[in-house]
Structures are given as C-alpha cells and as structure tokens.
Subunit: 503 residues, 2 copies
C-alpha cells in the first residue's frame, strides 16, 4: 500500500499568551502575522497541502472566521470542527477521529509550529504510513539540536519492522538541564513535537482503552454535531462535560503500540519570544532585528517592529516587541514569564491583555486609528463579496469615506454605490449596511460621532454570517447585538429595508 | 535700590537631540510636554513670571509659534527675538542686550531647565540684584548634590560686598569623576547652571572687551531688526556672519567682574533621559513609571508611556520611551549617547529623526493618524480664532468631518458653517480654507484621497500668519507652498474667493 491518502487535521486551539502583545486571546499566535506577514496557521496549511489540499481544522468557535480565512489564503479546503470551549488535545483529536471515516489515516499537527522544510517533512510523514496502517500510533520526533528543557522527549527502542519507524520505549516529561544533557549525550532521544499519524479506528480504540470518559463525551458531542456550511459545531453541553487532558497523558504514555519516526529537519514550537527571535538572522553582535528596528551598541537584542521605528541603544539580552497599541520590553531570561504579564494586565482590567486594536471579522477587519471625546475613527477593510450586517445605532452617527474600491451602501430604504473619494452620511437611528460588491478590497474610513460610542450600541437585523443570534452573544466583538435593549426599528424603514436586503 | 525691575530673557534655542524621540528638531525638548503635560518652556515662564510677567524669549524662527503659544499658556507677555539660525548663547544674549534699554537688569535663563521651587529661585535671583547693579555679571550656581561629570563648576572666592554674592575665582569645565569628587569634598564649588543677572550695558561692555566680533555682528543684526507684531526678526545676513560661541567661553571665563550667588534648591538641566527619570518618583525596586507603564520583576527601569500600555518585564537599568511614531529602548548607561541615535537615523534618511507625527502650526496642530496607498487621515485641531491658509491642492481631494466645535469652511466662492457631525467635501482644484470662528477648540477629521498626497501639493493664496512668502519656503512643514510649481488658480474661482477672503 503505497501513498494512501493522508488526511491532515490541524489543532488550532492554542491560546498563546506567551507571545503577548502580538498574540492575544482574541488573536492567538497561530493567527497573527509572524513570519513574512504570514501566520503560522497559514504556513502550516501550506506545508501540509503538499500531502493533501483538503484539511480539517479543529478550532475555537471564536476563531472560526480566522481559520476559514487562513484556509482560503493557503488555497486549501476542508472542514472546521468548532469547539464551544477548549478541552485540550485528547478531546480535539477524539472529536476529529469520530467525525472521520474509521479507515482514514489522520495526520494530527499543531497549527502553531514552524517547520521550514516542507518537502522533508512530507517525506518523513510518509515514512510513518506503513506503521500507522499496521495499527500503530506514529509520533514524529524531532532530532534535538540542543539540550532543551522546554520540550518533552521520546526514547526510541528497536525497529517496528515498518520502514524507519521505531518502537517508543518511553516518554520523558520536560527534563531538568542536567537530565536534558544526558538525554542528548545518550543519542536515542528526540523531542516530542506533538505530531501524530494514526488511523481513526486505531485512535478511537486507544481512547476506549485508556480514556473511555473522554471518548464517551466526544461521541455524544460528535453525534449531535450541527453542520453550518464548512463549520461542524460540536454539541456544547456534551463537550463541556468532557475532561480536558492532553493526548500524551490520556493515551500515549499508557499505550503499547506507539511508534516514532525521526524528523531531521529544523523545527520550532515558536513557544516564546526567544523562539521567535531564533527565526530571524543574527548580526555580528547577536542582534535580531525585524521590520523598522535599529540597534546601536546593543548585543543579543531581538526587536519586533513591523509598524514604527524602534531603536535599541546599548541594550543586552533583551526582547523588544512593538505593536500598534502595546509595547513589551523583556529581559531575554524572562521570555517564559510573558504569560504573567498577561495575567497582571487582566487583573488590572486592561483590555490590551486580550484584545487587539485591529479586529478581524468574517467580512474583513477594522482598526481603530483615532479616538476623541465624542468621536472615533476606524479604517474598515471589506473583502470582495464581504457584507457587514444590516444594523442601526441609537447613539452615534457615521460618516463613511471610501478611500479604495467601491462600496454598496444601504441607508434607510435606498441602496447606492459609493465610489473611491465619495462619502455617505448615516444619521443615528438609520438602518444601514456596508458591502463590497467588487472584486478588489474595499477600504472605508468611518468617522463615528455621538455621545456614546460603545460597540454594544448596535441593533442587528440581518447578517450573512449568522451573527444575529446566540453565537454573537457569546462573542463580544465589535458587533455584539444590544442584548438587553433590542428594540424594533421604525416600521416604515424596516419595511423598506427588508425589501432591499432581500434584493 | 530695592526690588528694581528684573527683565527675564529666556534662551529657547536648544535643539535637544538628547531626549529623542520625545524631543526632535521640529519640536525640541523645551517645547515638548514633559512634566504633567506642560513643557519646560511653559514651566520656566511660569516660574519667571514671579519676577516679571513681561518676558523676552530668544528663539529660532522655526519655533516662533511654539514660543508664542507657551507664553499665552503661561499667561505671560513680551517679545520674541527670532534667530534666523542658531549662533549659540553669546550671540543670543548680545542681541537681547542690544535690543533692551542699557540700564535694564536682564535675567538670562535657559528655557529647558527644571527648578521646582519658584519662590526660592526668585528670592535667590533678588540676592544678586545689588551686585548686578554695581556692574558685575552675576551667575547663579547650584549647590551640588552629587559629583556630576555632566556639568561645569564655578569656584567661589570671597564676598563681593553685595549681599550673598561672592567673587568667582574660576570656571571649571566638565570634570572627570575623580576631579568632580574632589570639587565636592572641597565644598567651595557649585554647578554652572547658565543663569545670569546683568545690566544690558554691563554685558555689552564685556562683549566689546572679550568678543568684539560677536558684538559687532549682533549690533548689525539688531540694528536691521524687522518688527512683526511681537516678533523681532534679527537681520539674517548680519547674524549669519556671527561667530557661534557660548557666553562662558566668549566672556565669562575671561571677565574679571563675575560674581556668583548660590542657589540651594533643586535644579536639573533635564539633559538626558536619566535626568528626566529622576523627575519621577521611584518605587521600591527603583522603577520610575509614567503614564500607562507597568513593570514586573524589573529594577531601575524608567518608562515614559503617555499613549499606550508599555510593559517592562525583568529589565534592569533601562530607559524605555514610547511616542506615537517611534520607540527608544536604551541602557541607562547610554543615556548620554541618544544624540548618536538621531545622527544614525538622520544618515539613514529617516524623517522620524527630526520630525514628529503631530505637527504644531500657528493655527493649532495636525496629527497623521492613518495612511494608505491612496489616502491619508489627519486629525486637525484648530484653536479658537485659528485660520488655515486659503489654499488649493492639484492632486488630492479632502473630506472634512467636524467632530468637535464648529468650523467655518470656504469652498470656492461660498463660505458656510460646518457643525459637529457635519461634513464637507473639497474636490481637488478647489480653493478652500478652514477656520475656527468659535470660542472652543475645533477638531476635524480630514480624509485626503488622491494619487499624490505629498505636503508640497499646496498653493497658498492668503495666510493670516504671514506664511505665504519666504518664511515658509525655509520652513518645510505641512503647508509649504509649491515653490516650483506655483500656478494661477482658475480665474473665476479666484475672483469668488478673493471677495470671500476679504470679507
């Protein structure tokens, strides 16, 4: 059996607080542009598309549009299994296995790792196929390049008889520095990268043996799955009751039939700013500069500066990360403590702990570029075909100035095209909608004026992306409906709009 | 002779690159909001107004409106002597002395020092009056609090017989650390703060003796001074020929009749970020945080963060300065090398070396809040009574949305009021003007669209602040006239506008 179909399944559930302020709860690291303006998710999708262009992603409900956008950008297709809440890797993999065909050969991979050599990776994965088809869970272990204390290790024993794969003797949790050194010297160990090739039926059987409660909860969640286009929503109540555990603890460490194939290429889990720094070339003084960064008399300083000039002067062993609305400066030895910063800011009630200034929406994105006492300026970017919801604000008026592309604007009962360099005014209380009917990106400067500018001053009448009802109530983004204050629009206008909106 | 009138003269010519990125050539440190949102110039004016509310400022032509605005904010009045180019303190003081009455008792002081105890300062100045009236140049020496190597020292000898003043034995240039220690141990030395009380005739006589060429050049520059309201413009050609030298080198170190009065209060020349840091209280770990700064496991870290959250994690002996368009992170030991950063950025042709995103104009200010391929968004703030020039652009259209206050807008032949939440569109080629006819600040969001958005696409027809002609050609700010491409506007429109503008 040569080259059977491999079905990649990407695990996109990470919350990624360790790369704050680039990565935040609303836009975790796998979705943030990190390498050459591409996200790790998109790079991972591109890498796996060498094996199969149809890919399943398991992701949070909150990130469904980010996942779909990344899949479009990577020119891949497939389904998104949506978790109503995070329940760690065992549940995510169980759900995906249960929603696949029993014979399917599934390649599980985290969405937020960096593996530059896609061809070598694909070849290594294929080395594991025979062992997987023989009923083993095949892990891919990374040949270690230094005695890391940040990764778990896998000890390989003798060959399985299937290609290059070897029997796994044991898993070693993150070791101390001295243990890590001895593992490296020993030579028979590799890093556990959390990448697995396994037939769906094999994984389900292993779960039934080692974690029957997780399997049972996921069976209920998958049996009651609701289908919404490419979105497969797991049943909330059933999934909520599932135990959250990693696949390593739940299954692999207890399972006899685990094999390992060694991957000899470069790999990073991009798990800290120090790991991100290593993705950039160093100058003679060990500085790693990206974007608009400069350094003078500095050593071993990493600067992430995509937006503005950032200058490091006489710094040493330092990490500097600039984003449009927050800056982090950290000693290189403290890179693993960035999550503590997020906790501190959250305790202080600062939105910047979890939210970005630029917010991604199914229709595109918006960025708050200026704000005053009674006004706010946003740049809206609407994708070709993108449609904001049909909506109304009680307390604010809006001015839209089209600065790129052509907009279709609904205002009360009329629909009109607004072209580049044209503007339209939407008084408060007017039902309106913005759409991009064109084939190129639409950019609009929106100036909001009024005594109250909160994002919750919105009444939504229709939405292409199904955001009128319960989903968006959980979301909490820019366009949450006014949950408590939902009012009827003026009947005359509503009638006019209804006709328009259905047109 | 008790309490004769003291005439303060503020020297505002410093370029202040050592506080980049807050201080830049276009807005040097004395004009930047540094302490409780006030500039050092405003604080200095407020301090000196205890002696006399009529104050003369010597400043660069480029900064004339900044000086006038600070004088208004400090509720002081007086004249601004404008230098066409910098020529150091001897020339600035010579010009001021020549433009004063010979008997005037002039108090020369830098505009960018911090002296919190205004009452003690005024009392100390008055201690020097008798010696100054007796024909001495009286310096004020600061009682040193540590063996600084950043300041020059003054050695005091016996009393002059006039109050607390003593004869100056000698001036000591910035010493080495060990010399500084011995000066402090000796006890007879104080820091040279560059503050002088002297009768105009005394200073002129001393210049005639020690620096006759400087005096002669300044006599020519002052004789040909042109008066423009409160602005006194020194003659460009004469002043250009003047030697640039400090008053210390040119006169004081050679002059016999110098006295010193000791000032026992707190003083800082705010000459580096370390000096700025010391103006903020330290927490238990020695961190000094301002604005939206936080620190976690950091020590001796200064963070200037007026605009956005800036977090220092595990940093030590560090300076972090955030501005809307540039960030500096410097080792505390490198604070004196910030000017090197400015040189480096200038060599790289980066505007951020010398320009700010927010640009101050005589009518108010503008801030570039967003920019795209074919558009730009600015927030314009227009002071009550402020008027932008009557102007026209060839390549860009403008949308103005009034978000605060009321605007008077001239468009072609019509003049109309545009109120909060109203907008107006100005097609390219249309002659237009924005004014604030009200009593409160006017804020306007300006969206520019077009294929060319350079600040030099402007034809100016009339300007309240005299910026139509040569001055603005030297300036290089936002509203430089199209020097090479000055064209006639369409005659019909021009006629309409001319009538309007004179109304």
């Amino acid at each position: 059996m040569n080259d059977p179909t491999i079905h990649p399944v990407l695990l996109c559930g990470g919350s990624g607080t360790r790369l704050w302020p680039l990565s935040r709860k609303a836009l975790p690291k796998q979705f943030a542009p990190l390498i050459g303006n591409k996200s790790l998710l998109q790079l991972t999708l591109e890498r796996l598309s060498a094996l199969n262009r149809t890919i399943t992603c398991v992701a949070s409900e909150d990130h469904r549009f980010l996942v779909r956008e990344a899949m479009e950008n990577a020119r891949t297709e497939g389904r998104q299994i949506l978790e109503p809440m995070p329940r760690n890797t065992a549940a995510a993999m169980a759900a995906a296995a249960l929603l696949a065909e029993p014979d399917d050969l599934l390649l599980f991979a985290p969405a937020d790792h960096h593996i530059p050599d896609a061809a070598l990776f694909a070849a290594t994965v294929r080395e594991g196929v025979d062992a997987a088809l023989a009923g083993r869970i095949v892990t891919f272990g990374v040949a270690p390049s230094f005695p890391s204390t940040a990764y778990g290790y896998i000890e390989a024993a003798g060959p399985t008889g299937h290609g290059e794969s070897r029997v796994v003797a044991r898993f070693v949790e993150k070791p101390t520095a001295s243990v890590a050194e001895s593992l490296i010297l020993h030579g028979g160990y590799c890093w556990n990268a959390g990448i697995f090739l396994v037939q769906a039926r094999t994984l389900v059987a292993a779960l039934r043996t080692h974690a029957p409660d997780i399997l049972a909860a996921c069976e209920r969640a998958a049996a009651a799955v609701s289908v919404d286009g490419s979105f497969l929503r797991l049943d909330r109540e059933a999934f909520e009751g599932c135990r959250g555990e990693s696949i390593d603890y739940a299954v692999l460490e207890k399972h006899a039939g685990v094999a390992v194939v060694r991957f000899e290429g470069t790999w990073s889990d991009v798990g800290s700013w120090n790991a991100v720094a290593l993705l950039h070339p160093a100058d003679d003084a060990g500085n790693r500069l990206s974007g608009m960064a400069s350094a003078l008399r500095s050593r071993n300083t990493f600067v992430h500066a995509p937006h503005r000039p950032v200058v490091a002067l006489g710094t040493e062993d330092l990490i500097i990360v600039d984003t449009p609305d927050a800056v982090l400066v950290a000693g290189a030895g403290c890179a693993e403590q960035v999550a503590d910063v997020v906790r501190m800011l959250s305790l202080e009630g600062k939105a910047v702990a979890t939210e970005h200034r630029r917010v991604v929406r199914p229709w595109g994105a918006y960025d708050s570029v200026d704000m005053g006492e009674r006004f706010q300026v946003k740049r809206l970017t609407v994708k070709p075909g993108g449609k904001l919801s049909l909506q109304m604000h009680h307390h604010r008026a809006e001015h839209w100035i089209v600065v790129k592309g052509t907009a279709r604007a609904t205002r009360g009962g009329e629909v009109q095209l607004v072209r580049e360099n044209e503007s339209i005014y939407l008084p408060s209380g007017t039902i309106h909608r913005l759409e991009n009917p064109g084939k190129t990106m639409l950019e609009v400067i929106e100036v909001q004026t009024g005594g109250y500018l909160g994002e919750d001053d919105i009444v939504r009448f229709d939405d292409t992306y199904g955001r009128c009802a319960a989903i968006e109530l959980r979301g909490g983004g820019a366009e949450r409906p006014a949950a408590q204050s939902m009012v009827s629009p003026p009947p005359a206008v509503e009638t006019g709009i209804a006709a328009t909106a259905s047109a």
